[in-house]
Symmetry: C2
Subunit: 255 residues, 2 copies
């Protein structure tokens, strides 16, 4: 009989404040991702494998891909939510984490899968994950990983709409680059005015290729789409000086 | 013998997360202001005079001025802080609130005084504060108010440095305009590169004149100053289409 591993789950309670919510009064997508990362940092800390431990190896976690699914409206300002996370799988270079978000009523309103790599902070490149960092999870490494789905492959052409953004000091996190969740602000802001008010996000895929450094001029681009359709997948890229730093596909339902 | 009022104080505990902090790992000024407003909203809610109550009057609170004093470094990521607030004084049209921030060790690290007016949300103009909104504070109205100090009076000329910012959907709050704390991101970002890393904020005065609407192009301007001085007061304005929407003076000490 095969022994089944019990994966270590972590749950964080959090009361949403107005600044966690967008203009509709619901938790914003970027804050949802920020809270999920916070939960995983707390899980790491609880196991003694947090930032202090990874810094001893001169390394840190870097997000590569997110795939998310939303089940109805996100929770509202003031609501007490639970953010959960666990490691779905890992190998020598990558960790796949599963995140979920529960409303106050206990409904699972969002699931997100994220793939992370371990980066040498001096050489700015991938480095094997030390055994000491993974051991406290008491979980076996695997060769194959349940990778998050990638954004759709699309080619930017001159029919795409674009908007420019100056990075602000407040976008920069303690790693010295723009925090990954901030990309979502640029991505969604490039959508037509009013679009977010009458469409609900049902899913997303988000791929990070290059970091965005302080004092960058960022271009957020979105492919043309039929805004009257009942179901829409919008295609996006984030560029700096003509180079793609991130790409995303967002799935929408008309409200 | 004169009867002395006991002012109703409210205290909120909060654990700082990485997304509340700037790239130096300390609580950012804009999040400090956001947390103070959150504390005052919670105080209002606890007295039954929160948003639901003010909305019955078709009105809401609008910040006019902040004056702040910082006593050393702001708390760091992970620290358990306390945010306090009380009403310092009020009259028929204005409320002055005092806010403070305590570190985990119980040190008062910041005090902020804010003046608010009550605004009819349809007419977009000042309206008398209903007695029902103030009664639960059991505090007498006064004629004279301890107003926050204003920013220094300065004239913009072409020696000022300026930077343009496209507002993002994430800047917009549920009132449909840019949240006031977001102005701080533009104000501070206009300072010379590296300035924030070797200067510590010791005080600020911030005046709000006009709201910033969605899809605005915002210009953040800063007067020239001697960056080598040990003590600096930087002068700032926020403009949209040539009109001043906010002004600020920030006091700095070289680290």
């Amino acid at each position: 009989m095969e022994e089944k591993e019990t994966l270590k789950e972590y749950r964080m309670n959090y009361q949403l404040a107005y600044f966690d919510c967008d203009y509709t009064g619901h938790l914003s997508l970027e804050m949802m991702l920020m809270l999920m990362i916070l939960a995983s940092e707390k899980q790491n800390d609880s196991l003694g494998t947090g930032m202090k431990a990874t810094q001893k190896f001169g390394a840190g976690w870097v997000i590569l891909d997110y795939e998310g699914h939303l089940n109805g409206e996100l929770p509202r300002d003031g609501e007490n939510i639970t953010v959960g996370c666990k490691i779905a799988a890992y190998n020598r270079f990558f960790v796949v984490r599963d995140f979920w978000l529960e409303s106050a009523a206990g409904k699972q309103v969002a699931t997100v899968r994220g793939m992370f790599t371990f980066m040498d902070l001096k050489k700015r490149k991938m480095t094997p994950i030390p055994e000491a960092i993974m051991a406290p999870y008491e979980q076996k490494a695997t060769i194959r990983l349940p990778r998050p789905k990638s954004p759709d492959k699309v080619e930017v052409d001159d029919r795409w709409q674009s908007k420019d953004y100056q990075t602000r000091y407040a976008d920069i996190d303690s790693n010295g680059h723009v925090n990954n969740a901030r990309y979502v602000e640029w991505l969604l802001d490039a959508l037509p005015a009013g679009f977010l008010a009458d469409h609900r996000l049902t899913g997303f895929r988000l791929n990070y290729r290059h970091e965005v450094r302080p004092h960058s001029l960022v271009t957020s681009m979105v492919a043309p789409f039929d805004a009257d359709a009942d179901e829409i997948t919008s295609q996006h890229v984030i560029q700096v000086a003509g180079q793609t730093h991130a790409s995303a596909s967002f799935d929408w339902q008309k409200i």
